[in-house]
């Protein structure tokens, strides 16, 4: 297969490209979905293809094909060059990529048990038993469970001498119970909404104990039908680790994507309030808030050896003691600004037929010092919310609103009754500046988000977010009506 990569690089050079990179990607995926006792999906999905990206006179072109042959490689390389020439018709100036990237090596996700070595019967059995346990609870109207296993083999080469080969494994799973009654519909999920997913092997799913948690989430879903509604008002809020993972994703992770900051995503997903004048000059959060973007912390879904520009995986502090200090960058965005930025290995493509974009790696809130029990005991009056149910944020990442599956009243330092239809809303920097406590690493979990949309044509990215429960003061809650 390396012959095809060399062929594209050579041909692009002959046809006038000043830079070329090629990615050959083969993906194998297993999907299992069980719905209320029946197997909805048992599928093996395979995808193979090659993509060629070129710069001609400083302008980009990209083409790809699912037919990996010499003739097709020649065709798409020529097409990419033609497209780059067309790009020049509406362009302000040539692209600079900064210093060359010459990475070479091999990376494989470290796993204990190859998930593809586990029999499909065993995987189905896990979901069917979880489904049966949820079904034991009276009042459940629907049950779902899903497992996914991915193996992606990717070879990248560029015209500057880089050549890296990676095998990335992902494993994930989750269950959900839906209850219906009293004119109400409620749900509970485990380990998180949709599923928990990581760069890991079968051991990651095995450790979830889906079966052991099935009955309890179903019981909670039914209990929520008659729970009190989340009150409306301004209160102290403790956010559980899973929900906080998505909060980080939406209000920090996307906001620090430098392509978004520079306007490349304006027409689709929007821009960011974290403009370049704020770098090292803006109090994003309180002193308790330390956020890191890294592509090395397993089992985060943003973990790999090199990004899709061949830049090595690395760790970047983005918020230090509340101060905004870093972006997720690409070669082009880093070189295009006079800010001393370097590419930090954040460019990823969803597949062989997509160009790399700046994507979140593992963007995580570093743990603090609090035990959760102490944090609750220290809270006179408030609400604890956990497990995402809905999410929305404006196009500059300021105004957000989240809903969670469950909430708990906190009165005089103790957890009280459960609450349904919990929501909270805020403005990103006000919210993070109201954080006065973060729990320690005992409850710090690397959550996986496997459905992050960005780009046109659309790309689904897989991102990681480490978080422990944290407390926020003066938060508006209960905005359902």
């Amino acid at each position: 297969m390396d012959d095809f990569l060399s062929r594209a690089l050579d041909l692009a050079s002959v046809q006038g490209a000043s830079y070329c990179d090629v990615r050959l990607v083969e993906t194998n995926q297993e999907r299992f979905v069980v719905r209320s006792g029946a197997v909805d999906t048992l599928s093996n999905d395979e995808s193979l293809g090659i993509g060629v990206r070129v710069l001609v006179n400083g302008f980009w072109g990209f083409a790809s094909t699912n037919i990996v042959s010499a003739a097709e490689v020649d065709r798409i390389t020529g097409l990419a060059v033609d497209i780059a020439k067309a790009s020049a018709q509406s362009n302000n100036g040539p692209v600079s990529l900064g210093p060359p990237v010459t990475s070479r090596g091999v990376y494989t996700t470290p796993i204990q048990i190859d998930p593809f070595s586990i029999a499909s019967e065993d995987k189905l059995g896990l979901l069917l038993e979880s489904d049966r346990r949820m079904g034991l609870v009276k009042g459940i109207s629907a049950r779902t469970g899903n497992l996914i296993f991915i193996k992606e083999h990717k070879t990248f080469a560029n015209s500057e001498g880089a050549h890296v080969e990676q095998t990335i494994y992902e494993a994930g799973g989750g269950i959900m119970a839906t209850a219906r009654g009293n004119g109400e519909v409620q749900r509970r999920s485990y380990p998180q909404s949709m599923r928990q997913q990581g760069c890991a092997g079968w051991e990651f799913v095995d450790a979830m104990d889906l079966v052991g948690n099935a009955e309890s989430i179903a019981t909670e879903a039914v209990a929520l039908l008659s729970a009190d509604h989340c009150p409306s008002g301004v209160t102290t809020l403790i956010i559980g680790a899973s929900q906080l993972g998505l909060q980080i994703h939406e209000s920090c992770g996307h906001a620090i994507e430098l392509d978004r900051v520079l306007g490349s995503e304006a027409a689709y997903a929007g821009t960011s309030f974290l403009t370049t004048d704020k770098l090292n000059n803006f109090q994003y959060g309180s002193e308790q808030v330390n956020i890191t973007a890294d592509s090395v912390r397993l089992p985060g879904l943003g973990s790999y050896g090199w990004d899709d520009e061949g830049v090595p995986a690395q760790s970047t502090p983005v918020v230090e003691n509340g101060r905004f200090t870093g972006y997720l960058t690409s070669r082009e965005t880093a070189a295009g600004l006079d800010l001393g930025l370097k590419p930090n290995g954040s460019m990823r493509a969803a597949s062989w037929n997509r160009i790399p974009l700046i994507r979140m790696t593992n963007v995580s809130l570093e743990p603090g010092n609090w035990e959760l029990e102490d944090l609750i005991a220290d809270t006179e009056d408030g609400i604890m919310m956990e497990m995402n149910r809905s999410w929305s944020i404006d196009d500059r990442r300021f105004n957000f609103q989240f809903g969670t599956e469950i909430g708990y009243e906190i009165k005089k330092g103790k957890l009280g009754k459960i609450l349904r239809n919990c929501t909270y809303t805020g403005i990103t920097p006000e919210f993070w500046n109201s954080c006065d406590a973060v729990c320690n690493d005992k409850l710090w979990t690397m959550w996986g988000i496997p459905n992050c949309g960005k780009g046109q044509p659309g790309q689904i990215g897989h991102t990681g977010h480490g978080a422990a429960p944290a407390r926020f003061r003066n938060i508006q809650v209960g905005v359902m009506k």
């Binding site: 029946a38 189905l124 069917l128």
Partner: protein
């Protein structure tokens, strides 16, 4: 692109490899060209082609699946065998009634040669023209222009043989100043039908008129929703409840109100996969004709759409709404009945309210009533005494879309086709609603 003969030859070959009792194979192929621009520059410019075979194998009441884009004999054989093996592993599903029988072939015309083979140079010219429109008003212009071909085909061991090739074209334009933004979106199956200059004027006009927005207090306001915002409502109602799976599982907004007049008598919504005023696709991923389904008639909630599985559960026939290889049935070529008011008439009838051109990042907050939260974006204006008086800062809403449509007072007489990226289309008019619940304002 493959073309009819090559696609069906490929599928027949694949079908010949199957040893299962029943087999169907769905081919989904796309050739896409897309030029993305920002700051007056094409910064991403791509082309890709892909052909995916999706195999379903049935053994008794068990259905296994596999997909591949490896079109070699060995690749196809592997996928067919994998689907068969997966079926053998599954427990019986008593609700599964087998693959659907063959239906009469349905064809629709949605092919345009110029759109199919549009060059990157043509797209670049369109982009250049749009950027020039913004330059004169000191606006940052961004967006995407795309053209391409979508091919689908289905063969089955029951005798289904269906093929369709359609073209698509789309243009999204975003215009931004320091304190305002505008947006326009056009699309359809014929590039020539898209008035790119008018779309540019629309996006530029909103950003120019939107300068110096004023913050207003959240609360309940009467609203005039332009077509992009109405598209969002139909899309949400489709995603969160027009499919029979959601109804059968009790998590649809339709649950408990089927047969009721839950919306204004001014609201009539249907799905029609073959209607060329939308983005037509004549059959679904099971090869079933995409029948017209009257989902809501004069405010009365009628019925969800079905695939063969959900239809079998309810003792019905599939309405042809298995849009993708896996997943629930979905209404994806929706229409809303036009009324008799001009947009100016909708605004003129509003004493004090808000004119909303677009919603953004809308998500389901609660399935009952399809309560959604989201933001306004790219052009939001105050209406006072029947006139637009000033732009307003973007607002967050938390609102039941079912309740919103219960309050439809007037319906626009012109409709617009809104085609999204993944083949979901609506043709919708503007609306005037009695009230809409705004729960926050952005910075």
């Amino acid at each position: 692109m493959l073309g009819r003969e090559a696609a069906l030859v490929l599928l027949d070959k694949a079908l010949g490899y199957s040893k299962a009792q029943e087999t169907d194979i769905y081919l989904n192929a796309q050739d896409l060209g897309l030029s993305r621009f920002a700051g007056g520059t094409i910064h991403q410019n791509v082309a890709h082609g892909n052909v995916v075979l999706n195999v379903r194998s049935v053994v008794g009441k068990r259905l296994g699946r596999a997909t591949t884009n490896d079109l070699s004999d060995s690749g196809i054989k592997k996928a067919v065998e994998s689907a068969h093996q997966n079926a053998l592993l599954m427990p019986e599903d008593s609700s599964f009634i087998g693959l659907p029988p063959p239906s009469d072939a349905v064809t629709v015309e949605s092919w345009d040669e110029a759109t199919a083979f549009c060059s990157p140079e043509t797209r670049a010219k369109i982009v250049h023209g749009v950027c020039l429109q913004g330059k004169g008003h000191d606006l940052n212009v961004s967006g995407a222009c795309r053209t391409g071909v979508q091919e689908i085909a289905v063969v089955s061991s029951h005798g289904t043989r269906a093929y369709h090739a359609g073209t698509f074209a789309g243009l999204i334009i975003n215009t931004m100043s320091d304190d305002s933004a505008g947006w326009a979106k056009g699309g359809g199956w014929r590039l020539a039908d898209m008035d790119t200059e008018a779309l540019g004027r629309e996006a530029v006009g909103k950003a120019v008129d939107g300068r110096k927005p004023m913050a207003i207090e959240p609360g309940r306001y009467p609203v005039v929703l332009d077509t992009y915002a109405v598209d969002d409502i139909l899309e949400a109602l489709s995603l969160y409840g027009m499919g029979a799976q959601a109804v059968q599982e009790g998590r649809s907004w339709m649950n408990d109100i089927i047969g009721d007049r839950a919306m204004s008598p001014n609201v009539t919504i249907w799905d029609d996969g073959s209607a060329t005023q939308g983005w037509p696709v004549p059959f679904d991923a099971e090869g079933m004709p995409r029948r017209r389904v009257d989902v809501i008639t004069a405010g009365v909630i009628n019925t969800p759409v079905h695939n063969s599985y959900t239809a079998g559960k309810d003792g019905l026939v599939s309405t042809g709404h298995q849009a993708y290889f896996t997943g629930a049935p979905i209404a994806s070529n929706l229409f809303m009945q036009e009324g008799d008011s001009s947009l100016q008439g909708l605004i003129g009838s509003t004493e004090r309210g808000i004119y909303i051109t677009r919603f953004f990042y809308t998500r389901l907050a609660h399935s009952k009533g399809c309560v959604m939260t989201g933001m306004t974006r790219d052009g939001t204006f105050m209406i006072e005494n029947g006139q637009i008086t000033h732009p307003v800062k973007d607002l967050r809403f938390t609102q039941s879309y079912v309740d919103a449509l219960a309050g439809v007072e007037l319906v626009g007489r012109e409709s617009k086709l809104v085609l999204n990226e993944v083949g979901f289309a609506t043709r919708v008019p503007a609306l005037k609603l009695a009230n809409f619940n705004f729960t926050g304002v952005t910075v």
